[in-house]
Amino acid sequence: MKTDVPTSSDQVTAVKLPGPVARQVFRRSLILQASWNDQRMQNLGLLATLAPLLRHLDLDRNQLRQTCRRYYGFFNTNPYLASFVIGGLLRLENDMASGTAVPERMVTGFRDTLARACGSLGDQLFWLGLRPAVMLAACGMAVFWNWQAGLVPVVLFALGQLHFRRRGINLGFSLGPEVVDVISRPLWHRAIAWARRAALALTGILAGFYFAGLLDQVPTLGPGPVIGCLVVGMGLPALVRQKASGESQLLLSLIFALGLALLF
């Protein structure tokens, strides 16, 4: 078995994935969710992501079987923060292959605990905070500037998240199980709070434009349809309470629009 990769007993600064393995793992980490399934979610994706290192370590057939068994169970986390989990797991696999005593329970415990933490943090930061903020900023820039400007926040996010994910794998590998300390830093919660504030402020700006635009429409449309649209649009999401997608809500609101068209 090949172990030219340093182990956890070496200096932390010296611990790096070999270049070609790091590049392959990074590329595969971007398609972690490609085989997402209802039963075990990202398990196949995780194994496919770890495969370049497993191949590099030149494990024998029995070790490969054990590794496949270890990772074939349930695995699910946020795709943007998954790189920390992947990096940490690569390090543990590397340590095991080099003869360091790493109990299997520790590997699965590390995987499950960190995946849950990253899933929760990542969903709040990326899906509930950054995505509405970035997309509302892009909408504003596109409508009030030009269409090219609308692409700028999205491209910046795309490049930033690629860099962040690459760094996550390297950091996870160099720190090993200690990467948990990075995820438990209060910085993440501050980032979530600021992303949500930004999204709320941009929602407010959108609402402000909308209300001002509606006031402008009162003389031509009449107060009935304007107030009706406002009440239906603002009230429907509160009625369905996150159970229906935006598309379903839109189609549902069409019934009210028909009612308004008949009334006024």
Binding site: C68, M135, Q161
Partner: protein, 245 residues
């Protein structure tokens, strides 16, 4: 686009890449409706109309959380295909303000925009059935991959994973082309052909969408820390009132 023979392969490629980007590949958010429709518009020769439809669709999906299997939708192919099909059929929109109004040219423009928003929403829900089917296929392949636990064959797992990605790309390409062709065929049956009440109701959709987005986001975030919302609201109203004189 100057080379028409290149248009359909490029549209299929864009559909495949963005469908993969939504959940399977990188998740760069280029597959979100605003950039996706702008790119589709660019390909069809009118990025401004694409962007304006994308803006509206972005507000429709702004509260959708793509966590796990929370929603089975295919908004990417629907947005791409319908934007492209509409622009190819001759639809043009220069500003959002030209698509607001009860009657006349503005009313018809509003109804057309509303009709496209409704079509994309319906197509997204229909495409979601295929997404569900695809997830079923992936589950079968994942169970097939269990053989690697017995023989340690990594190549089989990698193959199954790649196959899943390719199927997502294929779905995106096929559905995008299909929606583009369908909207081209249905274009003449839209506002103008429909009863006046339906056309009027469709004209109200562009007014409903921002209210739905604001309502959804307020519902998501809650009003416990409402000061950024109130500050943004004041800024937004002041800016627009100043702009409109």
């Amino acid at each position: 686009m100057s080379e028409p023979w290149l248009f359909w392969p490029l549209l299929a490629l864009l559909g495949a890449l963005l469908a993969m980007d939504e959940n399977s590949l990188a998740q760069t958010w280029l597959s979100q409706p605003l950039p996706a429709c702008t790119l589709a518009g660019l390909l069809a020769g009118d990025p401004v109309s694409g962007m304006l439809l994308g803006f509206m669709l972005q507000l429709v999906v702004v509260g959708n959380l793509p966590v796990g299997a929370s929603f089975e939708l295919d908004s990417v192919s629907a947005a791409l295909g319908i934007t492209t099909g509409a622009i190819l059929a001759g639809w043009r929109l220069d500003t959002l303000s030209s698509a607001v109004g009860p009657v006349g040219e503005n009313g018809l423009a509003a109804a057309r925009l509303g009709w496209l928003i409704v079509m994309v929403s319906a197509a997204s829900l229909i495409g979601g059935r295929l997404v569900k089917l695809e997830r079923g296929l992936r589950l079968g392949w994942m169970l097939d991959g269990y053989r690697s636990v017995r023989d340690g064959d990594l190549r089989r797992l990698e193959g199954l994973h790649r196959r899943s990605l390719l199927v997502t790309g294929l779905r995106g390409a096929v559905l995008t082309m299909l929606w583009a062709l369908a909207i081209g065929l249905l274009w003449d049956l839209g506002p103008g052909y429909l009863p006046a009440t339906v056309t009027k109701a469709l004209g109200l959709v562009p007014l409903l969408v921002p209210a739905l987005a604001v309502g959804t986001l307020v519902d998501r975030f809650g009003l416990r820390q409402a000061w950024p919302l109130v500050a943004g609201l004041a800024v937004g109203m002041l800016v627009l009132i100043k702009v409109m004189g």
